[in-house]
């Protein structure tokens, strides 16, 4: 069937081996006029080299301040079917396992009430239902909550949909119940998620170990990353097997199959703290110097495993560049046991948010507030003692805000007495 708009430029994207979204959209466009016009609009962008969407409008479902991104195209004259093309963010189940049932259910709703296009998934983690009209928002929300037992995710100045790596579900290294934590905070903080009351957005992400497969440290205002306090578990025999070429190094990441591993060069010499010793027979790890970077474990998964006294390092402040430049999250709590019901963690979150809501400026991410007011201020508010693990290096500038409480007489100098001792 011929589509409404010719798309010679887009058609070029049907070529090549990688799955073509154009082919996919063209297929559904045959029965979905919205998709037909979306293709036309996109072709127009390819011609103009400019996007064709208007600045977002505010739409949503009753009682929620987020979860829907309003969108209108700027050429409704040419592409009337995408005049409205709002996105709904549906909160994904933690770590994105699905049954086909639930996916098919979503598809049915979306076939009926939306464009039939989705993003699986959005960058924050939500299921993105891409393109519908204002009138369909409430019915969709109703069906999601009633029929699918699902809810919207976040948008706006609120807690955003938390996400996590797959953790213990299918990874041998996870030091955390990543899904349990994510699911728990998502439910605990539903109000914060749906009703924007923060200075700006706030994201949680949880990775089971320092490999950080959900990129928490780069993308979350609060990054929860699994770690351990005891020793790396070593199976010396398996180390020997790696050295002897009986096993595939790095879980066969290089496709080499079983092949000799130069333990000294590939493991010990790449250890950031050089805290391992290999004499050709026994691998010794000076765990007190290990910074738990995961490298040795990554390379010899059948020989080494994280310790068993596990918990999380909590880091804060990660974000993209807007406004003051990108930040990675910084260590705030070096170690916290993460056990249901996560009281200690939630206490911390409460104090953190109280401070940020009190002190944060409009559109100021947590990391920027900490930058502006200083880590000391944040630590005071969250009642955390300073620890060298929070910093790469102590200050190298001498501009120290000494606490007047530590100084005899505080900030006062008796000027008269001074001038008795010192003539002007």
């Amino acid at each position: 069937m011929a589509l409404k708009h010719k798309t010679p430029l887009l058609d070029e994207l049907e070529k090549g081996p990688w799955p073509s979204f154009v082919s996919d959209v063209k297929q559904i466009a045959e029965r979905k006029p919205m998709c037909e016009d979306l293709l036309g609009l996109l072709e127009q962008s390819y011609v103009d080299k400019e996007g064709h969407w208007k600045h977002g409008g505010i739409v949503g479902v009753l009682g929620y301040g987020g979860g829907v991104i309003g969108r209108y195209c700027d050429r409704p004259d040419l592409f009337p079917e995408v005049a409205h093309f709002h996105t709904m963010r549906v909160n994904q189940p933690s770590s994105k396992f699905y049954t086909t049932d639930v996916l098919k259910g979503l598809c049915d709703i979306w076939e009926k009430r939306g464009s039939g296009l989705t993003n699986m998934h959005g960058s924050t983690g939500d299921i993105i239902l891409l393109g519908t009209v204002t009138d369909e928002l409430e019915p969709i929300f109703y069906e999601l909550t009633h029929d699918m037992n699902m809810d919207l995710g976040g948008s706006g100045s609120n807690m955003r949909t938390p996400s996590c790596c797959l953790g213990k579900a299918r990874c041998e290294w996870s030091c955390l119940d990543t899904q349990a934590i994510t699911n728990d905070i998502t439910h605990e903080f539903q109000d914060e998620l749906h009703r924007p009351a923060f200075p700006y957005k706030f994201k949680f992400k949880t990775s089971g170990c320092p490999n950080d497969c959900v990129a928490a440290i780069a993308r979350a205002d609060c990054s929860i990353i699994g770690t351990w306090r005891d020793k790396i578990r070593i199976d010396q025999e398996a180390v020997g097997a790696y050295a002897a070429g009986e096993l595939a190094p790095n879980g066969n990441s290089f496709g080499t199959g079983p092949s000799t591993l130069d333990v000294q060069k590939e493991v010990c010499d790449l250890c950031p703290t050089r805290c391992m010793e290999w004499d050709g027979k026994t691998l010794k790890i000076w765990d007190e110097d290990c910074t738990r970077c995961m490298h040795c474990i990554n390379v010899m998964p059948r020989a080494l495993r994280p310790g068993t006294d596990t918990g999380a390092t909590i880091l804060c402040g990660g974000k993209a560049p807007i406004l003051e430049g990108a930040q990675l999250s910084s260590v705030i709590i070096p170690f916290m046991k993460m056990e249901e019901p996560y009281e200690e963690f939630k206490d911390f979150v409460d104090k953190m948010w109280d401070w940020w809501m009190e002190e944060g400026k409009n559109r100021e991410r947590l990391g920027e507030t900490i930058q502006r007011l200083g880590l000391r201020n944040f630590l005071n508010a969250t009642e955390i003692e300073p620890d060298p693990r929070m910093i790469n290096t102590p200050r190298y500038n001498p501009y120290i805000f000494y606490d007047p409480a530590d100084v005899p007489g505080g900030w006062e100098i008796d000027g008269k007495a001074f001038r008795k001792r010192h003539q002007a």
Partner: protein
């Protein structure tokens, strides 16, 4: 019961949050939760995880085109129903994972996946994205949905992954390579910490629609939005508006986010900047930001050949020059930026030298460098 537009609050259910994850775990996952002992990549895209119980789960990972229709999802479901007892998952980089609990089920699944193609010829389910290969490109909306993009997202990603297809399906790289795309400086994705990042950039300051400013914007918010304080309040023909000091504008677009009457999209100004050497994991070296490699490449729809070629050149230089286990940034740190520019034949320009707030910390304060 169906939704009744006249009584929208009737039977309303809110704040239920997402469904509990556990119900979506395939039995082998549920049974072996927390018991996994080790894993191995059997071939690109195929993983086995072995449990302390002796159980095994085989995962076949396929490249996910994140922008997918319900038809496509239904086809995914069909496959999962057929091979995986109706379970599947998506990865944090938008790949799709089909899991089976028996080695014998792997080959039929793979055969099925490989057999499925779009009419025009592209594969629906490329198997790969594991180990020391190039996995899926994390990306954002582009011209498909957003209002501030300087580039498209899906089209560039398709063009780049066509070029790098063999490396999605292979594992010949020195280490994993993470590529990400964001269509504007908001960077919806971890492009600020990627091995290779594709970023949409504007190069013209906003133009100001004075008649609209006071109607559609809160002027103080627009002013506060500017990181370099380039925006000042102004009056034009008696209308409250703003003025931009173009000299101070570095095209971040944050004013436009706050004020629709300050558009800055333009075909001649917009395009791609490429960044390299970021990383997220704590493995070996600490997480780090992506750094500027190429300040500007024009938008070249539909297949962005210069962008594709430049990325390919970076990838091949890295592949041939880096040591095993070295991520792109680790490789560059070893050889030095002077060598990176030499080997990749990229031009070093003024734009590469930081001049923002922390610029001083990026200057070379040592005599150590290579000729």
């Amino acid at each position: 019961m169906a939704f009744d537009p006249k009584e929208p609050m009737k039977d309303r259910i809110t704040d239920i949050g997402p469904p509990h994850y556990e119900q979506f775990f395939p039995p082998v996952i549920k049974d072996n939760y927390g018991k996994w002992k080790y894993h191995e990549i059997l071939e690109p895209g195929v993983l086995v995880h072995v449990s302390e119980t002796g159980a095994e789960v085989y995962t076949v990972r396929v490249g996910g085109v994140r922008l997918m229709s319900v038809d496509f999802i239904r086809e995914v479901c069909e496959i999962a129903d057929k091979h995986c007892d109706g379970y599947l998952r998506f990865t944090t980089r938008n790949n799709i994972e089909f899991m089976v609990d028996d080695k014998a089920k792997v080959q039929p699944l793979m055969d099925d996946l490989k057999s499925r193609k779009f009419e025009a010829g592209s594969n629906k389910f490329p198997i790969g994205g594991t180990g020391a290969g190039i996995t899926n490109i994390v990306h954002t909306q582009g011209w498909i949905h957003c209002h501030t993009p300087a580039i498209d997202a899906s089209g560039i990603v398709k063009a780049v992954l066509d070029e790098l297809y063999d490396d999605f399906c292979g594992m010949r790289m020195p280490a994993q390579v993470r590529i990400a795309l964001a269509c504007c400086l908001n960077m919806c994705g971890a492009v600020h910490c990627s091995d290779i990042a594709i970023l949409g950039v504007h190069r013209k300051p906003p133009f100001i629609e004075h008649e609209r400013v006071s109607q559609v914007c809160e002027i103080p918010l627009a002013i506060a939005a500017c990181p370099t304080a380039a925006i000042k309040p102004s009056k034009v023909d008696d209308m409250k508006s703003v003025a931009v000091n173009n000299e101070r504008c570095m095209f971040c677009g944050n004013c436009y986010t706050m004020c629709p009457a300050m558009p800055m999209t333009s075909a001649e100004g917009d395009g791609v900047a490429l960044w390299v050497g970021g990383k997220v994991s704590n493995a070996r070296t600490v997480p780090s930001f992506s750094k500027l490699a190429v300040p500007y490449i024009p938008n070249e729809p539909p297949r962005w050949p210069t962008t594709v070629k430049t990325i390919k050149k970076i990838v091949e230089t890295y592949a041939s020059d880096a040591n095993r286990y070295e991520r792109v940034g680790e490789w560059i740190n070893r050889i030095g930026w002077e060598r990176f520019f030499e080997k990749t034949e990229l031009e070093f320009r003024h734009e590469h030298i930081d001049d923002y707030r922390l610029a001083m910390t990026t200057w070379r304060t040592t005599t150590q460098f290579k000729w």
